[in-house]
């Protein structure tokens, strides 16, 4: 029986041991902020940008950039985990909690439904249960590390859902659509797990 091959002297980057307990299984910490993209960075004019919550039927609650900025913002520090195995700890974001948006939307008659589809400029989509974007678990983020969110990282605004793999934190967010039935998004319909809990290592479709 031959030994499995290993490249002599090759090791992955060393991990700071202090953070080991904070990493979900199979993840390693990165000091960078890798940019991964399935398409070109949309160049969005702030003057025409808007964000909408859309119910299963009309009506729609919509905010322009100026209107969005008047909503109460929070600053949060969270760990983020990408399914490609990098994690970034203690990242600081500023944005509007989805809970806040839902309260505002209710005033416009928009009622949430059990499932949400995040829809982005460029056509990217990702789906989540309503329960995973409420109760202080999700934000529409406009700032990262104290500065306005750069286009490469999803600016002007992205969804932030740190308790799930980071593909759920859709960049270039324009809409959260409420749906009565779950509908798989871009990666969920293409081999990746429908839910995506990093702590249960739910990377791919079929993972328990």
């Amino acid at each position: 029986m031959t030994e499995p091959f290993a490249s002599r002297g090759f090791r992955r980057r060393p991990q700071p041991s202090a953070t080991a307990g904070r990493l979900p299984p199979g993840q390693y910490e990165t000091p960078d902020f890798p940019v991964l993209s399935a398409g070109p960075t949309p160049r969005i004019s702030l003057a025409t940008w808007d964000f909408a919550l859309r119910g299963p039927d009309v009506p729609v609650a919509r905010w322009t950039r100026d209107e969005f900025q008047t909503l109460p913002h929070e600053t949060v520090t969270v760990d983020i985990h990408c399914v490609t195995k990098w994690s970034k700890l203690d990242t600081v974001w500023e944005g509007v909690s989805v809970d806040t948006l839902l309260v505002e939307a209710a005033a416009h008659g928009v009622k949430p439904a059990p499932y949400v589809l995040a829809v982005s400029d460029g056509g990217y989509t990702t789906n989540l249960p309503l329960a995973d974007v409420t109760g202080g678990k999700a934000w529409v983020a406009v700032k990262f590390a104290g500065a306005p969110l750069e286009p490469e990282h999803g600016g002007p605004a992205r969804l932030l859902v740190p308790h799930l793999y980071f593909w759920k934190s859709a960049k270039w967010l324009r809409e959260l659509r409420f749906m009565e039935r779950d509908a798989a998004g871009f990666w969920e319909s293409f081999g990746y797990h429908n839910y995506g809990d990093p702590w249960r290592e739910q990377r791919y479709a079929g993972d328990p």
Partner: protein
């Protein structure tokens, strides 16, 4: 199309495509199902995302092909290509 630091050329997809296709797909001509643009696949913008490889139309940005490897499966979505035409190699006769 504005410059885009992350996009690569069709060659970047050649490796994973070679796991699925026998002919070299980068020399094939693909027709975009969205806008009808025809291009050699080696000339398509490629976004090698880490989760999967996405080839897009250089004219309209629509996804022409996406391919991903998840554990023990390869996923292939060619719905963005109305047509793919490639040179046919003569199959050798095994003696």
């Amino acid at each position: 199309m504005k410059g885009e630091a992350l996009r690569l050329d069709g060659n970047a997809a050649a490796g994973i495509l070679s796991e699925v296709f026998v002919p070299d797909l980068t020399t094939a001509q693909a027709t975009c199902a969205n806008c009808g643009t025809i291009r050699a696949m080696g000339a398509l913008p490629v976004y090698a995302h880490g989760m999967g490889t996405v080839m897009r139309c250089p004219s309209c940005d629509a996804v022409i092909l996406r391919i991903a490897r998840t554990r023990n499966k390869l996923w292939l979505d060619l719905t963005g290509a109305r047509l793919v035409v490639m040179a046919a190699a003569a199959a050798p006769t095994v003696v």
